[in-house]
């Protein structure tokens, strides 16, 4: 069986972790937004306090998260496009396995980017801790 071999397509160089990378960034962004707002409103600004600093922080988190997700998504897309890249990536070959993982990574990056923007949107509209 053509398991291995070709340099760059060796099994060891493809991992499942790449699939989880973009959603993990979404999760980290989500938790940071939640924790920042919760601690700010409970400990610093108190009830009805201003959210100005939190909104700045969330804007920064979002820019960072989207950049990282974009890079991961681009890397995935390049893997998917490797020499053609016609779907459905269902051939029994290291190339198609490689392309499938790339395609799934780029799809998950797209979803993570949308979800990250969703998470940031409340901060665009809400100005106080009330």
């Amino acid at each position: 069986m053509r398991y291995a071999s070709a340099r760059g397509l060796r099994e060891e160089r493809d991992g499942l972790w790449a699939l989880a990378a973009a959603p993990t960034i979404w999760a980290a962004h989500f938790l940071l937004c939640y924790a920042t707002a919760a601690v700010w409103c409970a400990k610093i600004a108190r009830d009805d306090g201003s959210l100005f600093e939190v909104r700045l922080a969330i804007a920064a988190y979002t820019a960072l998260a989207l950049t990282a997700i974009g890079l991961i998504g681009w890397r995935g897309f390049v893997k998917h496009r490797r020499r053609g890249g016609e779907r459905p990536h269902d051939a029994d070959s290291p190339e198609d396995r490689h392309r499938f993982l790339g395609f799934a990574t780029s799809l998950l990056s797209g979803l993570s980017a949308i979800a990250t923007i969703f998470s940031a949107l409340p901060a665009a509209f809400i100005g106080s801790c009330s």
């Binding site: 069986m1 099994e11 493809d14 991992g15 959603p23 396995r97 801790c129």
Partner: protein, 850 residues
Amino acid sequence: VTDADRSPPDRDVGPLAAPSPEHVRWRQAQELLRTWETPKGWRYWSAVNNTEVGLWYLAASFFFLLFGGVLALLMRLQLATPNAQVLSADLYNQTFTVHGSVMMFLFAIPVFEAFAVMLMPQMLGARDLPFPRLAAFGFWCFILGGVFLCGAIFFDAAPKGGWFMYPPLTSKYQPGIGADIWLLGFSFIEIAAIASAVELIVGALKCRPPGMRINLIPLYVWYTLVAAVMILFAFPPLIAGSMLLEIERAFEWPFFDATRGGDPILWQHLFWLFGHPEVYIIFLPSIALVAMIVPTFAKRPIVGYSWIVLAAIGTGFLSFGLWVHHMYTVGLPGISLGLFSAASTAVAIPTGIQFFCFIGTMIAGRVTRSIPMLWVLGSIAIFVIGGLTGVMIALAPFDFQAHDSFFIVGHLHYVLIGGALFPIFAGVYYFYPLLGGKQLSTRLGKVAFSLSFIGFNVAFFPMHLSGLRGMPRRVFTYPPDLGLETLNLISTIGAFILASGVALIAIDVVRPKKKQPHTERNPWRAGTLEWVQEMPPKPWGIRSIPEIDSRYPLWDQPNLMRDIDEGRYYLPDAREGLRETLVTSVIDARPLQCQRLPGNSFLPLVAALSTGGFFIFGTFHAWLPALASLVIALGLISFWLWVGTGRHPEKIEKNVGLGKKLPIYVSGPASVGWWGLLITMLADLTAFVCLVFGYFFYWTVRDDFPPASSPEPVAIWPAIGAASIVGAWALMILARRLNARSSSWTQLSILSAAALAALGALAFIAGPWLGGLDPKVHVYPATVWLLVIWAAAHVAIGVIMQLFCVVSRIAGRTTARFDMDLHNATLYWHFTALTAVITALVVAGFPAVA
């Protein structure tokens, strides 16, 4: 593109060109039959093979479904007319609590594990999953806990705080044992669920047939993998929360008592951090059945395989960002509500994608009529309605109105029955031939589906309206003239129609089918590997383990069935009379090891009984018998590990056929046991992180947490403790290296590690002890005590492992070549050291900086 980038010209390994002679094949089949034989008589209950355990699991979970259904009918009778007196208010409370709990914990989760344990080895062409005894242990834990919980309602002692058990109702105002039964019974069952999750994750990643690359695995396996990983991170918060609530009930530590610094909202966070992912843990494996059924009846490969993988993984992640949408009305800041509302609407995207893929497959193929497809179509219709009302209540302002009303009851039943129960029934009809080689009746099936579909909508659609008219959940009755009578009566009628449909399925499943002929092989002309099974099924699972080249091997690989049957592939015999399967690599499923599987044994049953004794005696606060059960359980599990794992093989390598030689004994990251422990420890670490989250949660909501002046020993002793435990960890790593060099210093190194670790645990306890912290007075001392006890208990288990390794080495069971135990113990110590360091940083370090 260079030459080196191009794949080498070597070909896939094909089956043997010609079958072995008749007498050889006969001998091979006899060996396999003898090795995989199902035990007879009373020994039947010692079986650990996936076909038996899966069948028991299925039968038990469907029994609990019927039990929960009867409770639902009782509730509907009580609500059919205003001021009815079918059930008393108290019994009504018990009924809805047990109904919800049974359906979630004793049906929905176990039925997923049942299907997966039953089907996954067949789909993967594996003879069994890697830890059959663990699966059996999980089953016995489940049945014991389930019977205990359901039985309580016959003694008027069942829990009555609702399936989400909110304190302070369940901590202060319900003195009976009902809440204890819930907390301890379900903790026990959750441990069983985590055990199954470990089995399924390792099975999906390491036990695939050779050549089944990651882009070729059946979608069911993708979904199972995602749901099992979700269990690892979703169940520990509930275990941690249950532990806090039970400690409050039993020992009066005030975690949720606001008068002593606690906060009931912490329970809601921990519960829903479990509870919302739980909905998707139920939904994903059920919809996985749809992903197997639709291509078969559309007669074509699924449309958008990668998109479905995206949807499964994406839903798995996003579902952890939704938990607060159950808590919109507790008074969190608007920005927090907005954040969770955003995630709650975002999860509709991957959920929708899957349905478009299913509909696309049906349009692109030529769908044939069948009973499983009826259920699939019914499921899609119902789930879409439930999903849309879900988007409505994801929006906080609408939820403020609908919260705790019958609108929510209607919504959640549309989601769960459309998203889980109907696909499961589709799966029952579809996979039934794999159980005993017989078909279910098409005529009865049509009637059952029609009754269920109509009955379901008649029962649950009016609930949205009665909810909008103001009918709250969980009231045992309502006065006339509120405009609720007609809607409730219709719901009750619908519930009985639905029940008659379900009853018809149950009758069809259990009716004797002796005279009915066996069905042909692969009766639906499906493309996936589970359908190579012979009718009636043979106990060996698969005659020989094939090389896979396609997502739908039965459609694309010519002569596959013949070649498997004639033993032309891997492991066609069982020369040594031992159960074996192949372990392969994660990405490309390259064969790596011939894994010996343990045989039938009563050990899982007795280990589950003694573990159950700890929880059941604990419910009645009988601490001595509880402790005795725990000690017996630990002893039995150690014995189980001693006799059941790490056996030295009679040879280093085995010829598995087709010219392939594979090692039998591997250790460390190459072994499935190491991966199983790693996955278990991730769940354990998650529970610990939840306790740490509790600490910081109290810090955000209280000004006196931690108190201004913390007693000095609380700072010094944990630091000493952590230093000793880190030392013990370093000595364990040293011991593993010494052992690899066959050094006689190995035992000494482990024993010093154990001594140092024991000192560290004592130092941890000494902190709050010498500091005079009284856990009953305030939540701060209670939290500190809990964290140090958690760390010390982990060290205690680690010391047992160390002693096990020492004995194993002295007995010659652990050697430089056979060092599985030492690798696993060291892995455990990585996590213990991390736990100890975090505990010390939180307990001793944080008060200093706060």
